[in-house]
């Protein structure tokens, strides 16, 4: 706000000085030159009349000669001062208008508006730097869970198109240099913005993400920073100063691929948990044993190669870069899009193929050619551009590495359900029995569609029901929470409690007899309806108590007292 006033003052200084000079000189002239009344007597023009006349002259309104018809001397004077007055007036107006269209001034205005909207945020929010495809997905996910976002994006066009999108129009958004400290300050790094709960850096540029992460860790060390980084060097660099989460999509995918190779059931279950809620669940995953063909060993391919080695799978590399081929004996030089190269690499006897070049069209071409030569291939494809979703879907690939989707899901999981990564880590490290147990329990409630995930934090008013139940002399157990509070019968809600966190104690897949205490954090997976019922049960103190005690509970204080007396 201050900037706007100062900028206006600075720019208006010249025109205003000239206008006041010309205006006051004209007024003095008009007062000094005497006029004539109707009878020919000399008549001094008063200050008010003179000022009024000059004003209507300068603005070219021109109501006429005031107070009486002018004498020759007066007309001569008016003739002289008329032009400077009109010019000074137009000059001032012109300066104001040019100021309004001035890019610098508009940038200051936009910045002030952005800051005002950020300060008016009523819910907790993340600062999201970069609003490409990934950013869009993340912000949508945050909004769905009642978390806001303040967006900074390099490209003005994207900010403009955001204002036209119903979902995002109400969000504070600013176009500008995402690495600019002042913009980050406005967006939420300022200490006074208590509602800012983290920074998400997901621009396409690793270096920009790194700058954002460093800046926010220096300015507000306590604020969590979630950043995307695609090269090992940047990932290590970010981790070195305490970035809370660095998302490297290729590594994440390679790890998942490894999981699919060594333990298909674990892969399936974790895939269910991270799928978009409501989508069809993948029902099978059986990657074959045998030789793999790996097309392209760049950032993506080299990570996949490492995982194949870790799983002790033999593989043959196809790459266009001679130095990469030279480094791996037995590799084939070529693009992999031609049948000749693929046959040279032994596609007819291979079990699977990984199309991992940096070009989407090349990857599609590899898949189609390879499928023609060997229809039984297990196909893994790398997709870079999110606009090619449909092409890859219809290509029939068994696994698709979608960069932006992987980043968006991981960041959303950490930002909205922080317990989920903990659970998945546990799942990956446990033996297969745990995964099978989880698979059975999920299958029982999901009926083939991906679950929603939610966290219940039994703190503050969400723990009220526990206190009420305790006063009634009963203990609330987990199975009470997973019962439908509106139903008279024992009607299980379609959900599974994945994790119970109490202080530093974590119970994975807790049983129904687990006691609930204030301060517990619970992670659930299940259908959306179960989430709603659960929130209802917790927000309505009598609802949960009725479930726990098995009697419907009177809501008023007097009736409750009577009921308690009768119970004695």
């Amino acid at each position: 706000m201050n900037d706007i006033v100062w900028l206006t003052m600075r720019r208006m200084r010249g025109p205003l000085v000239i206008m006041i000079l010309v205006y006051s000189l004209s007024v003095f002239g008009m007062v000094l030159i005497s006029g004539q009344d109707a009878d020919g007597n000399a008549l001094r023009v008063g200050f008010l009349d003179a000022a009024y006349f000059v004003a209507i002259m300068a603005t070219t309104i021109g109501f006429g000669e005031i107070p009486t018809t002018f004498t020759g001397a007066q007309r001569l004077f008016v003739y002289i001062v008329l032009f400077p007055n009109v010019i000074a007036w137009l000059y001032s107006i012109g300066t104001i208008i040019s100021l309004l269209v001035d890019p610098q001034f508009r940038a200051v205005l936009a910045r002030a508006r952005f800051n005002r909207r950020v300060r008016r945020m009523r819910q907790n929010f993340y600062v999201v730097c970069g609003f490409g495809y990934t950013g869009r997905m993340i912000v949508r996910g945050l909004l769905k869970r009642g978390i806001g976002a303040a967006v900074i994006e390099q490209k003005q066009d994207i900010i403009h198109s955001m204002a036209l999108d119903e979902d995002f129009a109400h969000l504070p958004a600013l176009a500008g240099d995402v690495t600019d400290r002042r913009l980050l300050d406005l967006a939420g790094l300022d200490e006074t913005l208590q509602r800012c709960i983290g920074v998400i850096a997901i621009t396409n540029d690793d270096h920009a993400n790194l700058t954002i992460a460093i800046t926010s860790k220096l300015l507000r060390p306590t604020l969590p920073v979630l950043a995307r980084a695609e090269t090992r060097r940047v990932v290590d660099n970010m981790a070195s100063f305490g970035t809370d989460l660095t998302v490297d999509p290729y590594t994440i995918f390679a790890e998942r691929f490894h999981l699919a190779l060594v333990s298909p059931v674990k892969y399936l279950v974790q895939d269910w948990l991270i799928s978009v809620p409501g989508t069809q669940l993948r029902s099978d995953m059986d990657p074959p044993d045998g030789r793999w063909i790996l097309c392209g060993v760049g950032r993506f391919g080299s990570r996949m190669a490492a995982k194949l080695e870790q799983a002790e799978m033999p593989y043959t590399v196809i790459d266009v870069h001679e130095d990469r081929v030279a480094k791996r004996p037995g590799s084939v030089l070529g693009r992999g899009t031609e049948a000749k190269t693929l046959l040279e690499a032994g596609v007819d006897k291979a079990a699977g193929i990984i199309a991992g070049t940096g070009d989407d069209v090349d990857n599609l071409s590899i898949i189609m050619t390879a499928r023609e030569l060997n229809p039984d291939l297990f196909v893994v494809a790398r997709q870079e551009n999110p606009l090619n979703d449909q092409l890859f879907d219809s290509s029939g690939a068994d696994l698709i590495a979608r960069r932006s989707l992987i980043v968006a899901r991981r960041i959303l999981a950490v930002a909205t359900t922080p317990l989920l990564p903990v659970f998945i880590d546990h799942l990956v490290n446990q033996d297969e029995r745990f995964a099978h147990r989880l698979k059975h329990r999920l299958e029982a409630v999901l009926h083939g569609f991906a679950p929603g995930l939610w966290t219940i934090n039994l703190v503050g008013e969400w723990a009220n029901s526990l206190h009420v139940a305790a006063r009634e002399g009963t203990t609330t157990r987990l199975r009470h929470l997973t019962l439908n509070p509106r139903s008279q019968e024992a009607d299980e809600l379609p959900c599974v409690c994945l994790l119970l966190e109490r202080g530093s104690l974590r119970t994975f897949l807790p049983g129904g007899d687990e006691k609930l205490m204030e301060g517990d954090h619970l992670l659930f997976a299940g259908r959306g309806s179960a989430h709603r019922e659960m929130l209802f049960a917790l927000s309505e103190p009598t609802a949960l108590v009725s479930v726990v005690t098995g009697r419907s509970q009177p809501r008023g204080a007097i009736m409750r007292k009577l009921a308690r007396k009768r119970a004695r």
């Binding site: 600075r10 205003l16 000085v17 000079l21 000094l32 200050f47 008010l48």
Partner: protein, 127 residues
């Protein structure tokens, strides 16, 4: 010598001198107080204010504030005069004039502060 500084000092001092010229004389004697001089004082004071726009230093803020005070006082004085001369039935009586002159006296004080600050700043800068 900096031309901008000359213009700056010129208008600020001129605002003070014109103001002083109008204020000088018996407080309620119309012969001692000229409307033209009040008008000139007001115009110069306004220009001085605008010249001070956009200076973001501490001194600049105080200078601007004193000018705004002077403007306010002179504007009210001119307004009272205009009302008495053109609208009121009694015209510019000696009581009204006394009010106008004392208002301009207040503006004089503000202008004095402004000039003092200007002088003080000039003395402290040794370049």
């Amino acid at each position: 010598m900096n031309f901008e500084k000359v213009v700056f000092g010129f208008f600020i001092v001129l605002a003070l001198t014109l103001n002083f010229g109008f204020f000088l004389g018996d407080i309620d004697n119309p012969d001692h107080h000229n409307a033209m001089e009040l008008g000139a004082a007001l115009a110069v004071s306004l220009i001085a204010t605008i010249i001070k726009f956009g200076d973001r230093s501490q001194m600049g803020a105080i200078l601007l504030a004193t000018s705004l005070v002077a403007d306010l006082q002179l504007l009210i004085a001119a307004g009272v005069w205009g009302y008495a001369a053109n609208v009121s039935a009694n015209g510019v009586t000696s009581e009204v004039l006394a009010g106008i002159v004392s208002l301009s006296g207040g503006a004089l004080l503000a202008n004095l502060v402004s000039v003092t600050l200007l002088v003080a700043e000039t003395i402290t800068i040794r370049r």
